[in-house]
């Protein structure tokens, strides 16, 4: 039987990785991901993890080692944050274009400058077009469940792409919650060993990986890569259903809606701010305001149709971003949602919000105000194009 434990988000990620039995792990410590590396080395020291592990000298080498290992057919796992991810960019992009199904948790942390070690998904969102699958989760149970599922999705022969399961630094990584942990036997049944068929470094089957390649073939490979991204949506849903039958828990696939059935307004969120928003929705509902919530789980591939469907019946919506898209004056998720609605029958008013940068709290008050601001604009039939900033005034600081 599965076991109930109390653990922080980093322990949940490390536990999921342990249960998935990766053959190779290479990770470099960085705040707030560091405990993931420590937990994994501790599991190994106690004989509870059989992976070959490398204590690398940088994140660049972590991703490079896993790329080599994956090209040799191994199941691979790592985790990182912010500057580590930035350092990794070169082999990161390449892992996806080589179609290497590596699983990596990203413990989201603000990008510097200014110097900051606190939460915010700017790190991974900035790399949303590097070809990886990216899923953002809300609590520690979801970290554990989704990280286990990530191996299935990435290694599926219809997908064969690397995947990030992203969670907020500190809010989730260092906060303890109740988590149900499936048994090793359950996970083994759910997750068969990875067999690399599309490419393999093996003297028994000599092949070149990544020879010099002409533009027309680059286009062929990109098109197939995009098709695999699209296929991942179906696989994600399938894997979610199967996991539910195993554990009783479903996370809804690419998006998760809350109280959207008869909603007139919607608030769109991603990551741990969803928890506060859900409470806020309950409070509004208790006062007869018909507002619901759409949580984006899968950012890559972007669930265009699901988002369009969820938002096509409301009068308007707002998006809360904990990141910025420089040059747009709003957040990245807002931009994505707007793009998804281009094909909708009706274009409804919307409001972008930015808050919670650098680990700054997004309080119930702030999300409640955001909701009111959104409803007011929507009722006036007005879209606000530049982000409304959510922040609590501080003495002597001007925004």
């Amino acid at each position: 039987m599965s076991e109930i434990a109390v653990m922080n988000g980093n322990f949940a990620a490390a536990t999921a990785a342990r249960l998935a039995r990766p053959e190779v792990i290479a990770a470099y410590p960085i705040t707030p991901q560091t405990p993931v590396v420590e937990y994994l080395t501790q599991f190994a020291a106690e004989g509870n993890l059989g992976s070959k592990m490398s204590e690398v000298e940088s994140e660049h080498s972590a991703m490079s080692i896993l790329s080599g290992a994956s090209m040799a057919g191994a199941r691979c796992y790592t985790a990182t944050s912010s500057q580590g991810l930035a350092l990794m960019y070169e082999p990161y992009f390449r892992a996806s274009t080589l179609r290497l199904p590596i699983v990596m948790n990203i413990v989201n942390r603000e990008m510097i400058s200014p110097q900051s070690v606190w939460g915010g998904p700017q790190d991974s969102l900035t790399l949303r077009d590097a070809g990886w699958l990216q899923i953002y989760v809300e609590d520690n149970q979801e970290i554990l469940d989704t990280t286990i599922q990530a191996f299935r999705i990435a290694e599926d022969q219809r997908v064969l792409l690397p995947i990030n399961v992203c969670y907020d630094g500190f809010y989730l990584s260092h906060m303890t919650e109740r988590v149900e942990v499936p048994t090793q036997a359950q996970v083994d049944g759910f997750l068969p060993p990875y067999i690399a068929k599309h490419q393999i470094l093996d003297p028994a089957r000599p092949m070149a990986i990544d020879p010099l390649t002409s533009g027309y073939l680059v286009m062929e490979y990109r098109k197939k890569h995009m098709a695999a991204q699209a296929a991942a949506l179906g696989v994600l849903a399938e894997v979610d259903r199967e996991y539910e039958s195993l554990t009783g828990r479903s996370w809804g696939g690419a998006i998760a809606s809350y109280r959207m059935e008869d909603a007139e307004y919607a608030v769109v969120t991603m990551g741990s701010v969803t928890g506060a928003c859900r409470e806020m929705i309950d409070e509004k509902r208790s006062r007869g305001i018909r507002v619901g919530l759409v949580k984006i789980r899968c950012l890559r591939p972007f669930p265009r149709e699901a988002v369009m469907r969820a938002l096509s019946t409301v009068k308007g919506f707002g998006v809360i971003d904990r990141n910025v898209s420089f040059g747009w004056n709003h957040g990245i998720v807002y931009q994505e949602v707007k793009a998804a609605l281009y094909g909708a029958d009706r274009i409804v008013p919307s409001v972008p919000f930015i808050g919670g940068l650098g680990g700054e709290d997004i309080t119930m008050d702030l999300v409640s105000t955001a909701c009111d601001t959104m409803i007011e604009a929507v009722d006036a039939g007005k879209t606000i194009h530049e982000a409304v900033w959510l922040w609590s005034p501080r003495k002597g600081v001007k925004l």
Partner: protein
């Protein structure tokens, strides 16, 4: 189907790619078997592996020979002559 037209989802190559480097030659080596001492120095230093040993004799396969003249320069007996390649 030609190996090279195989469908791959990622950039992979199977089957050998060869440039026709024999076409580059402006001069070609010729071993004088009379004076050759069968030392094999030419085989050791030929950058393209064009020198072969057969029945103790050393012969040059010109298919990929680039005509660099290294064999002639290294032969301790001066028995490899480089001659102008006829225009192709």
């Amino acid at each position: 189907m030609n190996e090279a037209e195989k469908e791959y989802i990622s950039p992979v190559g199977e089957g050998l790619y060869s440039a026709n480097t024999g076409d580059w030659r402006t001069q070609k080596p010729e071993i004088d078997q009379e004076t050759c001492s069968r030392c094999g120095t030419c085989l050791i230093y030929c950058p393209t592996s064009s020198v072969r040993r057969a029945d103790g004799r050393f012969i040059i396969n010109l298919s990929f020979c680039k005509g660099c003249g290294v064999c002639a320069a290294e032969c301790p007996n001066g028995c490899i002559a480089m001659t102008r390649e006829a225009k192709r």
